[in-house]
Homo-oligomer: 424 residues x 2
């Protein structure tokens, strides 16, 4: 029976029973962590061979000695693999160090300091800077815009993308809105996949700012939890057709394909955008780590090798997602007090609890040893206006711990819901 339909006495009894069960948890000394989207050691083991690659004697990529300086755009051997996965020409993808986060940071920093190829002036000289943030979204995106003093405007994210009526209305009216954060495939944290219509509208829409940019963070482009891989739209082609050839900055990385702590990152965009980025980057570095790029090219072999590798990840983590949603269903299903996503890829589950109880749920869980991302972290400035969303990351702990932790989360969410109902 839905919690809202329970008679007051039943509600009080339920609270009492849950509170008693919760109290027993404190004695169990749990120390479980669902905070960050980190791969598990078992996933990292899938790439253990990389630690010996490229291997002694293997330091040439074509005529390029990967041990020496140069080659700012990265190795074609690896770029071609990623280009195939993104469905674009090799020349339209460059390979850089670290992770896509650092590319995104630099893209925005270069725009602030120098302006984009379509800018009338450096963004720092604009009277105001604003940015659209589909919510819930990725906290590290929001940290970049916040650090750069760019005012963030939340727009609702649905299962097929942001509220495009709202996006189109805002960008058409306000030239200070310079861009939007997007995770188009298996979005962090809801798992949303942008549909064709949304992608087309983002490519076509009229913007008051001539230098409006879509940061197209394809962090989970091959990170399926099913047996199928998502279709990857050629956003540059769509944008170019619509007369906005430089609209998209697409990024991805190997962070959650091989080693999260030692990845290669990629930028795919128009020639003008790539030239602009490489021009500024050439002042910062003589070139990226080509040894790591060659190692990755050798490890993958080809695009099919990447896909086969991702299916091995799936074998490890899909059961964790299943266990997580099963635990939530067991605890919460009958009471109609929460919703959660059942993503077909990516790294997260978005749990929506009773309005005003997300912070309390996270607190309750923490008290008994289950660490969750702070409520609100999927919102700009950490402010979820409804105090409703909790981002759950089930990949890192072992399966049994995921089950335990998710059961605790469900219990805490239900307990908080009961107390809110009793107080209301």
């Amino acid at each position: 029976m839905a919690l809202s339909d329970l008679p007051a006495d039943d509600l009080a009894r339920l609270e009492s029973r849950l509170a008693a069960e919760y109290d027993t948890l404190a004695d169990k000394g749990l120390a479980l962590d669902l905070t960050r989207g980190k791969p598990s050691p078992e996933q990292l083991d899938l790439s253990e061979g990389l630690l010996s690659l490229p291997g002694e004697g293997d330091h040439l990529a074509g005529k390029t000695d990967v041990r020496n300086y140069g080659g700012g755009a990265g190795l074609p051997e690896l770029r071609s693999i990623i280009a195939e996965l993104l469905g674009v020409e090799t020349g339209r993808v460059i390979a850089q160090d670290n992770a896509s986060l650092s590319i995104m940071y630099d893209l925005l920093v270069f725009s602030v300091l120098f302006g984009t190829p379509d800018s009338q002036r450096p963004w720092k000289d604009e009277p105001a800077l604003r940015w659209l943030c589909p919510v819930p979204g990725y906290d590290r995106h929001f940290s970049i815009t916040q650090a750069l003093g760019i005012e963030m405007i939340p727009v609702p994210l649905g299962p097929t993308g942001p509220d495009m009526d709202e996006v189109e209305r805002l960008v058409a009216a306000d030239p200070s809105i310079k861009g939007i954060w997007c995770v188009p495939i298996f979005a962090n944290p809801t798992g949303a996949v942008y549909d064709d219509h949304t992608v087309s509208r983002l490519a076509r829409m009229a913007t008051a700012a001539p230098d409006f940019r879509v940061v197209w963070d394809n962090a989970y482009v091959v990170h399926t939890l099913t047996e199928d891989f998502p279709k990857v739209p050629d956003v540059d082609a769509l944008a170019a057709e619509a007369g906005h050839p430089n609209r998209f900055w697409q990024v991805c990385s190997t962070s959650k394909i091989t080693f999260a702590g030692a990845g290669v990152s990629f930028l795919s965009s128009s020639s003008a955008n790539l030239d602009w980025y490489l021009g500024h980057t050439s002042v910062r570095t003589i070139g990226p780590n080509k040894v790591n790029q060659l190692a990755h090219a050798r490890f993958f072999g080809d695009a099919e090798g990447v896909r086969a590798h991702m299916l091995r990840h799936r074998e490890v983590i899909a059961p964790k997602f299943e266990a997580a949603t099963a635990a939530l269903t067991r605890r919460l299903g009958e009471y109609d007090v929460a919703r959660w996503t059942r993503p077909e890829g990516g790294y997260f589950i978005d749990l929506e609890v009773v309005d005003g109880t997300a912070t309390e749920t996270v607190r309750l869980a923490k008290e008994v040893g289950v660490a969750l991302t702070p409520a609100g972290s999927a919102y700009p400035y950490g402010q979820d206006p409804d105090d409703r969303h909790i981002r759950l990351a089930p990949t890192l702990p072992p399966l049994a711990e995921v089950e335990t932790a998710m059961d605790v989360v469900g219990l805490c969410a239900l307990l908080a819901a009961c107390r809110a109902a009793l107080a209301g």
Copy 2:
């Protein structure tokens, strides 16, 4: 006999003889490159073992799984080795990706966008920004300040450091002067080594800007061409004693120790500076490539391992420097028309030709297939006011090619000198 003492007839005969010899070079189809300070393949081979490191099964550094996210300051295992070489505590060194150039770029970008811990405002909000550039100096340093719109002021660099009277006078008077580029050991391109008195004055001097910074680019800290390693001053201790604890940003990297194209970079500074840098960097990245850091730690073993490795580099490149100076001496010695440095470390020789003939010397060399760095490249905005300095980089070509190329350089410099004397 000095060229200036030659009778006019002898001078004309010399020019004529050199011109004839020069003309024969065109037919030889030379293609030699002394432009950049790149290690040779033979040097890179010294680190070939790195290509298989850390190796399968070796992914833990203490309790840290280097394959996963985190650890923004880098691995203590590698930091401790570099800290010993710099003569500081491990906690005062952090390890980052790529090369020290990227750290320097980010340090200046963070200062421009956000200000340093000692700044009253972000540097972008200052009415003017100026920077001292000891000359001749490193072109990539100058590219950073130029890109950021910081006006560069050249100050003469002598064999023991910059003209400190001039430096002290300038920084005391002008609060818009925010810093100075320094390569204190085996400077690029002269090989100068700052003496204790210079270092002490840089640490102690009064600056009108409260947030003045010395970029202490110790790129060649262990890059000896002799059997001895240079003494490394603890600049932070000197500066702290003088009441300027945050004055120095010291950087170095493994670029010319292991692989120039796949290095680890290091920043050593005060706690306040490191915290400030890491705070901003944490928005840009979740952490550096720890796999590469562990590989380097395994490869070196300890600080003594680095020194032993550098002596193997020396065996390869010291003969090239000797051959280079011998060739210059043969060609130019008797005429007193040029001077060149005989560095005890680093990667370059600075050749000073007759005033007004550097550009012509480079042109003549290029015409017969010997590529040199453009004259003026060791000066801000590429402008050597005397058109006198040519940076020579003898490490990359094989020994025989270095001898040939340097002989051509000497011939071209002498030919240009003759023609200048005849024209004068």
